[in-house]
Symmetry: C2
Subunit: 344 residues, 2 copies
Amino acid sequence: MIKILVDAMGGDNAPAAIVQGAALAIERDSDLHIVFTGRQQEIQAELDKLKFDKSRVEIVDCADVIGMNDNPVEAVRRSDSSMMKAFAMLRKNEDICAFVTAGSTGAAIAGGQILLGRIRGVKRAALCPAIPNSRGGVTLLCDCGANTECKPVMLCQFALLASAYAKVGFGMQNPKVGLLNNGTEEHKGDLLRQETYKYLSQMEGINFVGNIEGRDIMVGDCDVAVADGYTGNIALKSIEGCGKLVLGVMKKEFSATLRSKIGYLFLKKAIKNMRGQLDFEKVGGALLLGLKKVVVKSHGSSKPQTIAAAIANAAHIYRGGLVPAVEKSLESVNLNSIVTESGE
Amino acid sequence: MIKILVDAMGGDNAPAAIVQGAALAIERDSDLHIVFTGRQQEIQAELDKLKFDKSRVEIVDCADVIGMNDNPVEAVRRSDSSMMKAFAMLRKNEDICAFVTAGSTGAAIAGGQILLGRIRGVKRAALCPAIPNSRGGVTLLCDCGANTECKPVMLCQFALLASAYAKVGFGMQNPKVGLLNNGTEEHKGDLLRQETYKYLSQMEGINFVGNIEGRDIMVGDCDVAVADGYTGNIALKSIEGCGKLVLGVMKKEFSATLRSKIGYLFLKKAIKNMRGQLDFEKVGGALLLGLKKVVVKSHGSSKPQTIAAAIANAAHIYRGGLVPAVEKSLESVNLNSIVTESGE
């Protein structure tokens, strides 16, 4: 049995979309058991609307809900909130494997590091979404917002964390790691980038392919893009904005005239395929890497299918042994020289 | 008469695409006169293939061509290159209004600053592309690669330069300026962003609307996005990659089956409209802002239509008085307090 905690109150469509998503996940995976945190009555009301094996669901009642704009550090103290209660339970209960939340990213990062804790040796947890790419796979962008200011050793660890995720989550044997930069030449970027380039080149167990540019995230030839959280966030959001604009313009133009509406009828399946290939939510959310257990952060606007995918991915990654894999790769790589040299 | 210098040898399709583009521009604007720099024989051979009023074209022969990957600083010394010859002529000849090149960005930035020179008071020249947005207009992203490491005063100047371009180039009365950041709250980002936020809030003549996220470049509500060159480059390239992937997947899916091919026939015009709205090359290239004359940097892969648009835009901006507008706004804004406080 795989027991997964789910924050029933996180996100814009909670608790309905969360409960529905969990029900879908349970139907698809006979080994799954879900523990919801949140307001019992509200969750129960949603459960009552659905038909599935409810013996595989529990509710841990908590009255408080952390808002999307609440201060993350203050949020950590709210121990009766659906998110922080979950982090505390994750730490205490050995039989709980993973946690899925669509709540505040900042609160999840703070709660994850403070209440659950990092894997021994990990400097900072990192947020790592899987972005669809032109090879039909995904590029893991790490970090994407957890750490605004970084030192070289942190970026090297992000390479290591995301490489482990690439192997465990996507079966990549020897994931190619690129350093997100403003050009591909070795000397490019600021001091942080130049130093990190040097260290990544020397790191064993990392398949470093050099600097990559923003366009390489989606149309390049690497599996992991390493960035500080500020830069990763800018890249991710820029991509989101572009995708939204392109699909918005397409929708408008394809319904503008009778002629285009007819064309759309013929292309319905092709457009569905297209959307499938460009789906940011295939795996349901971004991983919060470096923590002692698997934590998936879904988008606040997630619908049931996305939550179901996030739960399935959490189970998949737990089964693949992400945390032990990270522990092992941290042991085998000597980051001490970087730590000393860069004054961390 | 408006006399514009054109680097006939810059870019992947030179000199054919450049000469053809210039011919198109001349046909569209009866006031235009073009001076090509480059290898006379090659340019003449291209001219001989075309029919237009060649009395409005001159060639300044120079043997050298700067490659896309040549070291920018070393390139500046190559005074017989088509690009550096042009910058020297721009400085010397009062009757030359502007310069268009599809050559190396790095070399153009170096040559522009060293050979042509900056407007008095401008700390650094900045590269500023116009990115299509969801309002049917453009968002000016400044800087986008010229300055990897920045101080607050530079970012404040980028706001000022791009605001002038927004007014002169696009007729925006009171362009909204956003600071590209990893969140919209005031405290977001690193020290550079936090300090810049403070200064931009106080700057007269700048319509500062606060922090913006990457997605706001294309689907937000600002006209100018201010960034250091490193971040701006990541955002721009991430957007490019996303656009390329989406259009690539669309092309593949829309030609995958007989059914989708039929649909495509009906949607041909809609897709053309769509591409028009998402066209990055509407104005032919990015402006190199802060220099003593108008300089447009077109993409290396530019086709004749793009070069023609770049030349037309250069003429439009010269006529609008970009350089005097920048001089005037520099005079009216007191940046000294920022310069002192931030130790620049």
